[in-house]
C-alpha cells in the first residue's frame, strides 16, 4: 500500500504554523493528494529506469516543509517499489554526499508551486567508473525527471509554511529608500486627516512621509549644535505627539519639537526629552554619551538599552546582550525573549498584544522579524537588510509595522509589514 497519506498528514502537522493557515479561510484537509500524485508520477518514472540501489534523494524547494514532505514520501514510495532509498541530509554537493552515505543513485528534484505543483530534476548514478583513467566518468542511467499536477490546499499549506510565518506579510517593495541611515522612526496622524504619517530621523534631516511614501516635509539638521561627545551610529528618538514631531538626535546637543504647517516643518523652540515609546506612559530616558545606547530612568545605570517601547501598560526593553524583556500590563513577572536585536515595538493586533523584534545577528544580509504574542506566536519573517527600527502604525485603516532597515549600500529602507486577517 502507498505510505503516502499518513506520512503527508504527519508532516503537515509538523510544519510550522501549518494548521493556522487556511488561505482564503477554507477548511484545510489534512494531507495533500496533489503531492502524493506528483510523487507517484516521479517514482513510476524512476522505477521504470531500474536504477541501482540504494537511491539518495535530494529535494530542494523554497519551502523547507514542502521539500521535506516530498523527499520523505518519495523515499518511502521508491522503497516500497523495490528500490532501497534514503533522504539525503544537508544541501551542499549532493553527489559526493550521496556517495559518502552509501548511495549508488542520486535523485535530485526541485519542487515548486505556482499555478501548478511541479517537480523537475534528474536521476543519475554517483558511482565513478574507476577504469576510465584520469577523467572521472559517471556511467549508468541518467534520466530527466519532470512532473506537474494541479495543487490542492495541503500543498499550498506546505508551500506557505516555508514562505515565512503564517499571517505576516512583508510588502514586496520598500515604502522609501534613503541614501543614509535611519536613526529613529515614528508613526501617527500628525494632521488629523485620518491618514497615518511616518516621521523619520535620518543622519542629516527629519522627514515626514505619507502613506504612499511621498515626502510631505523635511527639516535639515545641518548647522545645529552638536553633542559634546558624538556618537558614530545613527541613533535617536522620535515621536509624533499632538500634531508635533518630537525628535532627539543623539548626535545633537538638544532635541527639537517640530510643527507641521501642512507643507513645512518649523521648530517651536521647545527641546523635548528622549523617551522609550511614544504613548502617554512612555519612559523618560537619556542617551549614553558616545554610544548608541539609551538609559531609561528607574533602571540600574549599568543596564542601558538599545531601545524599547511602551503601549497600553505593556513595557518592552531591548538589551545589548541580545535579549528583550517584556513586562505585560498588570503583571509583575517579566517575560524574556532571546535573540532580539536593536529594533523592537509593541503592536496590538485584534485583541492581543505582540512584541515585534529584529534578530541579534551582527551583519545579516537577511534579518528576521520575529513576532511573539501574549498567547500565540506569528513566527519569523525574513526581511532583506538589517532591521534597526520598528514602529507600530495605522495605515489605510490597518495596524501595520514600519521597519527601518539598513541596506548594504550604506542607505536604508522603510518597509511595511502587516498581519494577514
Amino acid at each position: 500500500m502507498s505510505p503516502g497519506p499518513a506520512l503527508v498528514a504527519a508532516l503537515l502537522l509538523a510544519a510550522p504554523g501549518a494548521r493556522a493557515v487556511a488561505p482564503g479561510g477554507e477548511q484545510v484537509e489534512v494531507g495533500s493528494k496533489a503531492l502524493e500524485l506528483l510523487v507517484a508520477r516521479l517514482s513510476d518514472r524512476i522505477l521504470a529506469a531500474r536504477p541501482e540501489g540504494p537511491a539518495a534523494i535530494a529535494v530542494q524547494s523554497a519551502s523547507p516543509a514542502l521539500a521535506n514532505a516530498a523527499a520523505a514520501v518519495l523515499a518511502s514510495r521508491l522503497s516500497a517499489g523495490g528500490l532501497p532509498s534514503f533522504v539525503l541530509s544537508g544541501e551542499e554537493e549532493p553527489a559526493s554526499r550521496a556517495q559518502a552515505q552509501g548511495g549508488a543513485t542520486l535523485v535530485q528534484v526541485v519542487v515548486r508551486l505556482d499555478a501548478d505543483l511541479t517537480a523537475a530534476g534528474e536521476l543519475r548514478t554517483v558511482r565513478r567508473n574507476f577504469w576510465s583513467g584520469r577523467t572521472p566518468l559517471n556511467d549508468g542511467p541518467a534520466l530527466a525527471l519532470a512532473a506537474s499536477v494541479p495543487p490542492d490546499a495541503g500543498a499550498r499549506v506546505l508551500w506557505a509554511a516555508g514562505q515565512g510565518p503564517v499571517g505576516l506579510v512583508l510588502h514586496p517593495t520598500p515604502l522609501v529608500h534613503f541614501g543614509e541611515r535611519t536613526a529613529a522612526v515614528a508613526a501617527g496622524d500628525i494632521d488629523g486627516d485620518g491618514h497615518g504619517e511616518v516621521a523619520v530621523l535620518l543622519e542629516s534631516e527629519v522627514q515626514l512621509i505619507d502613506e504612499s511614501g511621498r515626502v510631505l516635509a523635511r527639516f535639515p539638521l545641518a548647522g545645529l549644535p552638536l553633542a559634546p561627545i558624538p556618537v558614530r551610529e545613527s541613533f535617536g528618538t522620535i515621536c509624533i505627539r499632538e500634531g508635533h514631531i518630537e525628535v532627539v538626535p543623539a548626535s545633537l546637543a538638544a532635541g527639537l519639537t517640530l510643527r507641521f504647517t501642512g507643507s513645512a516643518l518649523t521648530s517651536t523652540g521647545v527641546p523635548p526629552r528622549p523617551t522609550l515609546g511614544c504613548a502617554g506612559d512612555a519612559l523618560p530616558a537619556r542617551f549614553v554619551p558616545g554610544a548608541a545606547r539609551i538609559q531609561p530612568e528607574g533602571l540600574p545605570a549599568s543596564r542601558p538599552v538599545w531601545g524599547g517601547d511602551v503601549r497600553r501598560g505593556h513595557k518592552a526593553l531591548l538589551f545589548p546582550d541580545g535579549t528583550a524583556t517584556w513586562l505585560p500590563a498588570g503583571e509583575s513577572e517579566a517575560r524574556q525573549v532571546p535573540d532580539a536585536g536593536a529594533g523592537g515595538a509593541l503592536v496590538d493586533w485584534a485583541d492581543e498584544m505582540f512584541l515585534a523584534a529584529s534578530s541579534d545577528a551582527a551583519n545579516p544580509s537577511e534579518d528576521r522579524l520575529r513576532v511573539v504574542g501574549e498567547r500565540s506566536s506569528l513566527g519569523d519573517l525574513p526581511v532583506p537588510g538589517r532591521i534597526l527600527q520598528i514602529c507600530r502604525a495605522v495605515m489605510n485603516g490597518r495596524v501595520v509595522l514600519v521597519l527601518g532597515v539598513w541596506t548594504p549600500d550604506g542607505g536604508s529602507d522603510l518597509r511595511i509589514v502587516w498581519r494577514r486577517p
Binding site: 552638536l226 561627545i229 558614530r232 548608541a292 538599545w306 546582550d321 541580545g322 551582527a362 551583519n363 550604506g410
Partner: protein, 448 residues
C-alpha cells in the same frame, strides 16, 4: 579538572552577551597586516596607503559611493563666489590644537607643494596660493575659496585623501578617529567629530605577502592591505607616462609597441586594468585602444623618473626601457621617492616620468588631474571653465568623456593602466564600506 572543564563550558555557553550584536559593539583592537610597500607609502598616495593613513588622518569629508558628500572634519557652504569651509569645533589634532581655518590653509599650502591630486582639486580656485597664504595668517573661523569659474564638483573633490589636513611637514599628524601611538599603534579618539571608532585601538604589522596572508587566514589580522582585491570595485589609481614637449617623439615610439593588457597581466597584477583613454574605464573612459600605426625607430637617450617603492612602477619602467631599446633609444631609469618625484619633475628633471594618481570618482575632477599632470595651467583653466559651466551632472560627465577623447592625442600624458584597492577583510568585520574612491572606510569597522 572537572571544575576547569565547567569553567570552559561556561565560557563557551554563557556569553550570549558578548556575541549579540545588532548594533555595533565597542572595544577590542583592530589588527591590520600590511605589505612593506604599503608601509612605505607614507603620504597615502596609493589606495592601500590612503586607507591606512585615514585611520589617523581623516579626509575633510567622505564622498560616499552614491555621490553624497558626508562632512567629517568640516562642513561646506556655497557662497556667491565660491565655497566656504567651516571646520567642525570638535576636530582637533592629537596635540589638542583645534583644526581652524588657518591650520587647514597651511596644510593645503603644503599639500599643493607635493601632490598633483591636491593641485587638481583646488585648480578651480582663483589665486589659490594667495588665498591660502592670507587665511593661514588670519584668525578666521572659515576658509573662503573663491572660484575662478563655476565648478559644481568642488565639494566632492575636497574629500580627496590628498587634502586630509596635516599639522606638520611630515605625513603623520592628522585629525583621525585614532591618534597615532608610535608607528604601529593608534588609540580611539573619544571626541572625534563622527564619534569614536568602535574598537579601542588598532595595531599595524608590516609583513611579507605570505605572512600577511597567513595572518588573515589565522584571523591574527582582520584587515590585509597590499594583496587581493575586488575586480568589481572602482579602480581609480591611474598611472600615466608624462613627457616633456621635446620628448613627444619618444612617446610616439612607445605607443605602437605598448600592449597595455599584457603590461597589466605581467607586471602590475590585479585588481588592475588597461587604461587606453585619459579617463579610466570606471569613469566611462575607453576600454579598448585604437589600432595604432606601425612602430617607428628613433635614436638617442632619455631619462625616466619613477617611484622607487612601488613594485609595479619599477617593473613597468623596466618594460618601457626594453620597448625603447627595441626602438633604438637608450632609456635611463631614475628612481625617486614620491615627494621627490613630484618636486624634481616640476623642477625640470627627466624627459619622461611615470605618475600614479588616485583620481576622484567624477569625470570632470579626473580630467582636472590629467590636465594638471600635463602641466599647462592656462590650457587647463580653459578646459575646466567650459566643463564647470555644465550644471547637470550627467551631462557634465558626458561632455567630459567626449573632451577626454579629443584631448587624448594632444596632451603630453599617455594613459597606461589603472589599479584598485588591494586588500582583503576578515568576513566577520561589520560595516566596512567603500567610499566613492573605492577606499574602505575602516572608521566604522566592528565585529561581534
Amino acid at each position: 579538572m572537572n571544575a576547569r572543564r565547567l569553567l570552559v563550558l561556561l565560557a563557551v555557553v554563557s556569553p550570549a552577551a558578548a556575541t549579540a550584536a545588532a548594533r555595533a559593539r565597542d572595544g577590542g583592537t583592530l589588527r591590520l597586516a600590511v605589505l612593506p610597500e604599503v608601509r612605505a607609502d607614507r603620504w597615502g598616495e596609493t589606495p592601500e596607503g590612503a586607507v591606512l593613513r585615514s585611520l589617523v588622518a581623516s579626509p575633510l569629508c567622505h564622498l560616499e559611493a552614491g555621490g553624497r558628500v558626508q562632512p567629517v572634519l568640516a562642513s561646506f557652504q556655497r557662497t556667491a563666489d565660491g565655497v566656504s569651509i567651516v571646520p567642525r569645533a570638535s576636530a582637533r589634532f592629537p596635540s589638542g590644537t583645534p583644526l581652524g581655518a588657518a591650520e587647514l590653509a597651511r596644510a593645503w599650502a603644503r599639500a599643493l607643494e607635493r601632490s598633483p591630486a591636491a593641485r587638481a582639486a583646488l585648480a578651480p580656485v582663483r589665486d589659490v596660493a594667495a588665498v591660502l597664504e592670507q587665511v593661514s595668517r588670519a584668525k578666521g573661523t572659515s576658509l573662503q575659496l573663491p572660484l575662478a569659474h563655476p565648478w559644481p564638483d568642488l565639494e566632492a573633490s575636497l574629500c580627496h585623501p590628498a587634502l586630509a589636513p596635516l599639522a606638520g611637514d611630515g605625513p603623520g599628524e592628522g585629525v583621525g578617529a585614532y591618534a597615532a601611538d608610535g608607528a604601529e599603534r593608534g588609540r580611539a579618539v573619544p571626541g572625534f567629530p563622527e564619534g569614536r571608532p568602535h574598537p579601542d585601538g588598532f595595531v599595524v604589522s608590516a609583513l611579507s605577502r605570505r605572512a600577511a596572508q597567513r595572518a588573515l587566514e589565522a584571523r591574527a589580522a582582520q584587515v590585509l592591505l597590499g594583496d587581493g582585491g575586488d575586480p568589481a570595485a572602482p579602480a581609480l589609481l591611474a598611472t600615466y607616462l608624462v613627457s616633456r614637449p621635446a620628448t613627444r617623439p619618444l612617446v610616439a615610439l612607445v605607443e605602437p609597441r605598448l600592449d597595455r593588457a599584457a603590461l597589466v597581466r605581467s607586471f602590475v597584477g590585479g585588481p588592475a586594468s588597461a587604461m587606453p583613454g585619459l579617463l579610466p574605464p570606471a569613469l566611462g573612459g575607453l576600454d579598448r585602444a585604437a589600432t595604432g600605426s606601425s612602430p617607428g625607430r628613433g635614436s638617442g637617450t632619455a631619462l625616466l623618473l619613477y617611484t622607487a617603492d612601488r613594485p609595479g612602477q619599477r617593473a613597468v619602467a623596466q618594460r618601457l626601457q626594453i620597448l625603447l631599446r627595441d626602438a633604438g633609444v637608450q632609456l635611463t631609469l631614475a628612481p625617486r621617492s614620491p615627494e621627490a618625484l613630484d618636486r624634481d619633475w616640476r623642477a625640470g628633471q627627466g624627459d619622461l616620468a611615470l605618475r600614479s594618481v588616485l583620481l576622484p570618482p567624477l569625470p570632470a575632477g579626473a580630467l582636472a588631474v590629467v590636465l594638471e599632470l600635463a602641466g599647462d595651467p592656462a590650457g587647463s583653466r580653459r578646459e575646466l571653465a567650459t566643463l564647470g559651466a555644465v550644471a547637470e551632472p550627467a551631462e557634465r560627465a558626458a561632455r567630459t568623456r567626449e573632451r577626454a577623447l579629443q584631448l587624448a592625442g594632444t596632451v603630453p600624458v599617455l594613459p597606461l593602466y589603472v589599479e584598485g584597492l588591494r586588500g582583503r577583510l576578515d568576513p566577520a568585520l561589520v560595516d566596512v564600506r567603500r567610499d566613492g574612491f573605492g577606499l574602505w572606510m575602516l572608521d566604522d569597522a566592528w565585529w561581534p
